[in-house]
Symmetry: D2
């Protein structure tokens, strides 16, 4: 399969790390550490090869990908030697990046997006293209009547005003261009009835939301541990300090709230009750991309004896997210080829806020994912 | 089933907490928090009820159980209100505790132990009795020819000297008395060919080793997390500070080494490789039973980017161990009744150093245990 | 000196722990651990003895002090044995507690407060009485013209409405009754020009604000360490999880903001610059009085190399505050006797948000305090 | 003053970072962050300028300084841009490094060392040269009769065998060459009566031992905090994980013990009693130079209530040590010029295991140091 990945937010840290990594894998300069689809139990024949991926994307900023990669190298996020070795490959990808279109109406913008996607597919003779949103987190949107059905949405898009948030407009454009869509952020994306209708009509799969890269990943193994041991979790409080682009964006209370809700969901659904405590997200510029999360869990054991667990996670967000972006793209492309449509619930393993009424325990999600990938068959 | 639990180290913290808890459960004064066999998925009809358990045991120390329980209450390990309410029940159990016998030969000692077990069974008209070792950790033993077969062992036991460490001598006595045996410590216990031969001959099951109550419990969910995410664990270092009886005992380098090896096994077997780093155990009297463990895990993500996780576990060892002692006793008694013999490998969920070549991931062990318990049938 | 301590918030955790502790010290049942004035370098002859202190106070709640002390014992804040032993002493103090008065105007309320103070002094033939505010934190107040001078304030108090927050009204009443005033909370207290005028007129000293019991105590030694080593602190972020009465109160954004500002002041003033990062306060009921604070400090060393320090403080707020309440009362009573008036700046050692333009390094504050206490002379 | 610094272990991480930093300061490419002598209160006119320092040294390894600097840059210890910019300056310093001499007797070795020192001084027309030991930690030495006096020592050195450990032989050689000596390690160095006699005879100052760069630095501010608050420290346990050259060396139990004793001294001397607990040092290669230390402190507050503090220090050892090496050299050179002789006790601020019966509280040491530096006068 000749496969394309179209990134929304293509000049951001996550996107750039994904591109540098995929190019390095193609060139044999690195190993797929952190790539779930490189795990022996997951590496199905149906998935497009790491070396078969082409990259394009939209962004609202300008500046070269190579420059951004150098900044990431200076910050210790990607190795400088890779950026140097991949200079010309990065420039080639740069030629496939486009400035985010802005039409007179959202319908016009969507057409321009879809046009860029079609051109990308033609230019590289791609069998299929997946659109992946790695742009900044949006605030939660208010429900609107036009979200309820495709006909009403089409009408509203043709009128002035913004009936859709950007993440949803990209999903709309992707679907009209025949592309599956993955949302790696907590934004609205394809989660509107009108968009579900469009995806169904076009026979397209989609996935989301909010890549599970750090604190929530830990919750998805620790909460089941407490449950399996029949220990009573009394409180679970967390604070996330982050300084990258997403951190700055999350200073906005709307975006912060969206993210924090997504982060607590796993507890309630795994334990069967909601312990005391909240998850905080704070922006600390000096910390940069090396997010630091601290969680305190108080729990009661036998006869009510109180105990506690605390952990500190110091992870590089982009380096954790990028391999999952490649994983999600590979699996979604194979799912598209295999004819799967609608929300890809078996991909819950990757997300803080997965689609569907799914198990939040990581090991259960792993089994579901493994079965799903195996079922995609193989033979390209 | 009228069932008995015979505790080796019956006046220690773990044993006393187990007894207080079981009596409190029988009296309806507490909930079975921390009891795995109280989990909805585990609570098979075949298991003897919490209220059907009788307690007896051996110890090398004297002093009343009620006194010990008061000390535990003062240290915050069990609630004072329970100790007050259960005063007379504790005195009743006290009447079933015996001083650890010491014969002229180990054979004589074993006979005396078996005699105490038989008498306990008769006195309370018990259907069966399980022996559970919760005494202090022993140093690892040197292999001896007499360990290889039952005939040689019988001969050696009849001669002067100590061919078996205490934990193994109790296993021998338990088997001769027709009792299954569980070792909650890292000591040798039933892990000798001669004892396996004896258990097989008598049709008895046994289980061990080293209850998984804290740091290793966390390893058994965190190591699989790193493996499932295909992240490369570079180092895993841990320190355990503990001040209770077991801590004092572990100052002995032999016992410490036995415990530390048991603690690192999960990493190698789950990850498929051994990261840098060791597990330390230090005795800090002021900490008492509220063990504090700190682990630092360094790992590499995509493109080799270095990150780290650290956690601090502040758990009350006895309060974590006691419900598992009740769980192990209930399951082993039911397994005995159901005719299972030999090492109970499906009980790996409970142990740091389980028997057999088993999966060390907690969720896999949970599934195995669930299936095993369900298979014990029910209907008493 | 026969000395009285009148507590505002007299049935709260801090007040009750202070009373239990002082009674226990008088009865010889405990040592003055945590009492700064018991330090060999601080224990001046001028200070009233621990055994010479009489307690009274106001509170808006009812219920006996002995009951409250039992609750504190159940929560592990004070030893149960002390509460049992001091039963009758606690009842005696109970007889000196009064319900917080509420008059038709604030002037009337102030008169009622002053009346209670005078009666307390007469009843026990006390040489002097200090009023200490340990009530809940108030939101910051808006400046009003009547705060600027005593004449305007007297007029406003006689009119309907609340020109003063409770903490300031108690300060006003204390001063009119000839009593020095200490504010252990971040509330406004005596920090208004009109009240400074009143204190000066009556020749009274006063002190505050916001007892330094945990995270800020650590900041006051760690920030100087970074400064002395010429290391560049890049960010200092903190989260405080607390579940006691003050925690519930701090859910109110106004009170929270007042407290958080008070907590960051030490950094700016010690380092000479304000690093990135904030201090958060979150209410987690299960944590109770055992406050848990986590701080992450990122800093640059030689050649800009980035490093970090994190700490977790698990302290019992009442047990940390109570001895300081006794210290502050003893020193302020002695200062009153020695004729000191106005804001007691040398007491900065005790406060997060001290009065005056003072050094925030703990060791410098210690020296200042030591000199001040020595200067109070002695010989009663 | 034209001043020279002669480094023992000149190709190690600390030495190389010191040289890169001093060259960068001379070239105006960096600021003296982490240099105590750059603090406004400390920056006396008597100290030689950062730009006036010449470097030479001995090492047992070969390989260029520039190569070592590149390795440090790859490990994130020094910035790559500095290493590139200082290439030729590093080569110039390389020309002043010598292989550690090995004579037929220790006397012969000492003569060869002293000869290298004299040549270095002549070559660069230096006013004075200080010898600083930053080589690996040695095991503690056994006392020998020849250590007691200079005459006996001279005799023993002329005979075959090794009467002195390397650190002491370098101190001997430095003194014979008229150079002051600083020991940044826990090794024996000049701490022998015979060497004190030699230093006195030659009118030379010396300083040590064991640079206070991380965990002990924290102890020197936290232990006084507990003391000033009159809180009772019950236990203080620490573990240091380090992977650099010193870590590998400390696997040797002798060296480890020397270091651990040095690390606990501050507690006993500051608190006036020795709490429970030990300090551990473990070698974890993956951690490299970014040492991670975790300490748990349990303490009792008012009425015996138990609480705890824990901290994790993640510091780059070389980046913390290097500026202190420059500080010590500058101050010791100025002390030599000012005619100070014998052990420089006022330099306790810099050391875990300082000379003399000194205060271990950091702020007291700071005051002492400030007074000392001010007293060295100025005017070159």
């Amino acid at each position: 399969m000749r496969a394309g990945i179209w990134l929304i937010g293509a000049r951001g840290s996550v996107a750039t790390t994904s591109v540098v990594g995929a190019l390095a894998l193609r060139a044999g300069l690195t190993d797929p550490v952190g790539c779930v689809t490189a795990h022996p139990e997951m590496n199905g024949a149906a998935l497009p090869g790491f070396g078969d991926l082409y990259f394009g994307g939209h962004d609202v900023t300008t500046g070269s990908l190579a420059k951004k990669a150098e900044q990431l190298a200076a910050a210790g996020i990607v190795p400088a030697r890779l950026v140097q070795a991949l200079q010309s490959d990065l420039e080639a990808v740069d030629a496939d990046l486009r400035h985010a279109p802005e039409g007179a109406t959202q319908a016009a913008t969507a057409r321009a997006i879809a046009h860029d996607l079609a051109e990308f597919r033609t230019r590289h003779r791609l069998d299929r293209v997946v659109v992946v949103n790695v742009a900044s987190t949006e605030a939660a949107v208010e429900q609107q009547p036009a979200h309820a059905g495709l006909a009403a949405l089409d009408t509203a898009l043709a009128a002035p005003g913004n009936v859709l948030p950007p993440s949803s407009l990209y999903a709309y454009a992707a679907f009209t261009a025949g592309c599956p869509y993955v949302d790696f952020t907590p934004s609205t994306g394809a989660r509107l009835p009108a968009l579900a209708e469009l995806a169904a009509k076009r026979g397209l799969p989609y996935a989301g939301h909010d890549g599970k890269t750090g604190e929530t990943l830990l919750k998805s193994v620790l909460a089941p541990m407490f449950a399996m041991r029949n220990l009573a979790v009394r409180s679970w409080s967390g604070v996330n300090l982050l300084g990258g682009g997403d951190g700055a964006n999350l200073v906005d209370p709307g975006a912060n709230a969206a993210k924090a809700v997504s982060k607590q969901r796993v507890l309630h659904e795994t334990l069967g009750y909601a312990p005391d405590g909240d998850t905080r997200i704070d922006y600390v510029p000096d910390i940069g991309d090396f997010k630091t999360a601290w969680d305190l869990i108080t729990f009661a054991g036998f006869l009510g004896t109180g105990m506690c667990l605390q952990f500190t996670w110091q992870g590089c967000d982009s380096a954790l997210a990028a391999p999952l972006v490649l994983d999600l793209a590979r699996i979604t492309l194979a799912a598209h080829e295999a004819g799967r449509t609608g929300p890809l619930e078996p991909l819950a393993y990757f997300f803080k806020d997965p689609m569907g009424d799914v198990d939040h325990a990581l090991h259960a999600q792993w089994e579901t994912l493994r079965t799903f990938v195996a079922g995609l068959g193989g033979g390209r």
